[in-house]
Symmetry: C3
Subunit: 265 residues, 3 copies
């Protein structure tokens, strides 16, 4: 049987020897491990960004893949490290909430263990790099087929992280930009369902003094350079510019308020 | 038999969850797929840059490798998606011309199919991300050994993309920079053959007010910091700085005019 | 038997077609080669940075992995190319000293061969890209199981590269920053042993007008934003900012002087 895939998501940047150290430690336990980079460009220590990244990336993978996430501002404190199983989507993560948005979007209850069995860790554990010293060797052991139940005790509480919820008023919803993708598209915390709940007329989107009327179906609607609102591939309201960057055009980033109003209001 | 390799070339940037989504969708179809990143740093939606990248990258791969290219400014319009076979160099690409420069550099005729059989796609196809919803699952099916003839009808016309041709005059050629590599070397559209056609004396290269006399054989000729003209590893005239960046030194980028004149002129 | 892993470390940047060309050339020799990116973000032609990167990355890998390093400011000159075996840690490198810091940190003597057997190279070798034309095909042959003794003659001298040594005085040591990681942590050339040699009291670290008293054990000691000195995961004195960038805070980079003084001095 082929070894399961192990994906890597970190905030190390890809010039860092720490990415290489993670890979080396996994391979030192299981030479046959199959490694796959997801990103090493999470903004340093940004848990909300991490949560959003995982929410939009991991649901496409088949069950059984092991996802190692090393975004760990609390390293060296007493925060725990967790093995999480979300109906076959398996993660090794610090207990900092980076995975709970993803869990909330899936059906089923998380099965979670706290990593305590140090026999599966690097013999010498540094205070500053638990990704290399604990998560990577544990990933190597899981790649070799270790039963996750041996990693430590089952736990039923953990740190939760939530995105801000949009506020709904009479025929309007106020949310904010929660993620800016690499094209400069502004993804908001307002869901397609919420937008649909405003009724069937052409709603208006207000952001940084600009008004967008109606929802586009694709980026290529309207003239090049024109502002568009559409539902992103992840099911959230998104503001984009046809063949351009909405972030640049609107000087907007995460946290920018977004108002959606029904047509009649 | 080992699964064929699948390479990925996109303009997503590597902080993007979209790269991860592509990988996940391929693996969801074929868990044994072997994935290889070429780059995720094509400048957003730049087809000419993409064409140049593929021209300089793909000829080194052995036949049978499948190259998935997701640079797709026309997503959501009615542009097609293609499976292309160039004597064993196989591509999955939007029909936007990004592969035709490469095809022109190779012998043999392209065999091309337009992707129409939606049974090999994601059941729910978004309007904004055909890379994930069509190209990735089709790549997964090809990885599992699907006959490409089943993907859709053979076609004999497609969008062509061409680089500007240099203009030849009496003992001189006028071209332009078409690609700036990551060292700041300026690669032009003037071929080694064109340069050789100017005769055997030490020709001169004029760019942004600077004159370079003669062709160097290596980057390390001349003093550190000195300007050089040489034939690039891809067979094109290139302007470089020994241990430095020609792009910075000359404040030049793609589109900068380059004149090559015979020694006697 | 599975093919050994081949890692890639270059200064090409990951938008470069040269990274893809390297991968293609390896696969053209051995279709089954298993490739792993370490980084393509070595600052262009920076050998000291490369040396530091390898020193902090390669020791974590199991023996047998082959590490290909293409940081090659001397390409086209008569510098050699080497196959190096450091007790099972195998490298293909230009003979520019990038690997000798790593070798000095390990026990055992390097076994080194100079690549001279051109039958294992690309038939046409360019003057500007020996990574693609020599190192990559040789890596492919090694992946297929070629005996490294066939690559060329054993050699016993090579270019050495050293980091500056700290200067020790009476109860004080003067060193400098030698590496800035992607979090902005400043790693110095002062070892944990040197610091310990100053005695057991709370020593002081002076850098760019700031004084740090005592060694922290983790990044999370002290208030967010406060300066810390600690021993890095690689065993060197490091200056960091809790949840921030010491490089930004101190406007400091490689070469910045660092003074460590015993408590009583």
């Amino acid at each position: 049987m082929t070894a399961p895939l192990i994906t890597l998501t970190t905030d190390f940047g890809d010039g860092s020897p720490y990415v290489a150290a993670l890979k080396g430690m996994i391979l030192a336990i299981d030479r046959e491990a199959r490694l796959l980079d997801l990103t090493h460009h999470i903004p340093p220590q940004q848990l909300r960004h991490t949560a959003f990244f995982l929410l939009h990336a991991l649901p496409y993978f088949p069950p059984g893949v092991l996802h190692v996430v090393v975004v760990d501002p609390g390293v060296g404190s007493d925060r725990g490290l967790l093995y999480v199983d979300l109906d076959g989507c398996r993660l090794l993560v610090p207990d900092n909430g980076c995975w709970t948005l993803l869990a909330a979007s899936l059906s089923g209850s998380p099965r979670v263990r706290r990593l305590e069995e140090s026999r599966y860790w690097r013999p010498s554990v540094s205070a500053t790099f638990h990704g290399r010293d604990i998560l990577a060797p544990v990933a190597g052991w899981l790649s070799r087929g270790l039963d996750p139940d041996l990693l430590g005790p089952a736990v039923t509480s953990w740190v939760e992280l939530t995105l801000p919820a949009p506020m709904s008023g009479h025929e309007r919803v106020t949310g904010e930009v929660v993620f800016v993708d690499s094209f400069g598209n502004l993804i908001t915390n307002i869901s397609a369902e919420t937008v649909a709940g405003l009724g069937h007329g052409p709603m208006r989107v207000l952001i940084n003094g600009e008004v967008i009327t109606g929802l586009a179906r694709t980026y290529s609607e309207g003239a090049p350079g024109s502002l568009l609102a559409l539902i992103s591939s992840g099911g959230l309201l998104e503001v984009a510019v046809n063949q351009g960057s909405a972030a640049d055009r609107l000087h907007a980033g995460a946290g920018e308020p977004v108002l959606v109003a029904a047509s009649a209001s």
